[in-house]
Amino acid sequence: MTGIPLIILVVLSIVGLVLVGGISLITFTKLYGVIFLGQPRAVLNSKPVEASFIMLLPQYFIVAVMFSVAFFPQFYLGQVMNIIHASFASHLSADPVAFTDTGMTMTAIGRVGFIFLVAIIVVFIFRYLMVKKQPVRVYETWGCGYVAPVAKAQYTGRSYARTFGRLLGFVVNERQNFDPIKKSSLYPSQHKFSTYYFDWLEKFLVMPLTRRIAFILNYFQFIQNGKIQSYVIYGLFFIIIVFLGTVLNWVF
């Protein structure tokens, strides 16, 4: 192999994986912390309860199928390859043997995933055994100096993102929405203060591109016009295309 030496590629991959892992860790800690931890921010009239087992069962079923795809991809890949060969064999240009390597890689990834899941289950069982005899106590999460803490004075998404945001300050810099109180105003009216991250990639690359695409797609908005007559015409148009395709022997 010419170009970048293999060792550099391996090091770069490890660094990349560490970075992605770190971001994921922070993101999920934030997600979990903001949603599930702390005191309730509002008084709820009816206490939320978990859905009944019969509602959860289909979801367990879906998750089980998803896990089976993740852990035994070779089975699904084999079935999909059978379908492709049986249905589109004459249109295939790629060598089917080339997929064998992909299949083996996917099998290895599936196996590692399975071990990872088992490790998580073991950790949870261990945790359960450790904490089951310990007393559970609900305690305030934010009590530094407040005599009468209020529910809204708690950790927010920003509490978690700030450190990370500063680390990548050259990409996402922090800005504030704040109308300063003048020194001359003795009794200031209600003011709001908020912060947000200015992402120049989003501002100068993603948004202009998205706007352009949305602008072009707007020209096709007339297709979804809510008139049943138009939808019938689309059906007829489709049938005519299929008919012409059959008569003229078009091959897609």
Binding site: P58, Q59, Q79, N82, A86, I239, V242
Partner: protein, 164 residues
Amino acid sequence: MAEILILSFNLLAPISIVLFAFVNLRHLSFAAPVILTLQVFIASWLAFIVFSDGSLEYSYAGSFITGNIPIRIDYLSAWFILTISFTFLTGAWYGIQYMKQYRDQSGNLALHAIAFILAFTALIDICIVQNAIVFLVAWEIMALSAFVLVIFEHYKKETLRGRY
């Protein structure tokens, strides 16, 4: 064998239409998912037959309007049958509890259950039928029943506005 399975699968749809018109709400919430599960079982059985023994094919004589009606289940249609069946099965069982909040609308619920069974039957028929006219009939049944499913809360203006 395949012919009997497909026939039973399709017959369950008109049976459920008649049945749902007469059963009370308590029985309906049980009967609809059970009939759909039965249909899913038959459809999945057909798909597995195809995966193990290869494509299935036979035809009905039809009428002078439709002509011969070939029925074929190949690998691709078997795959789609499995995917559609899986989605409808989970949806039906999830719906048992979910629809309980509408228990005061028994007529609406019966119509919804009928439309759900019809949409599933038509979708599976679309995958297997090889005749243009019959395909269009199945397609229209699917479209109309899906329309009825979408406008379940037809008494709300927002629902009617979003029906397309």
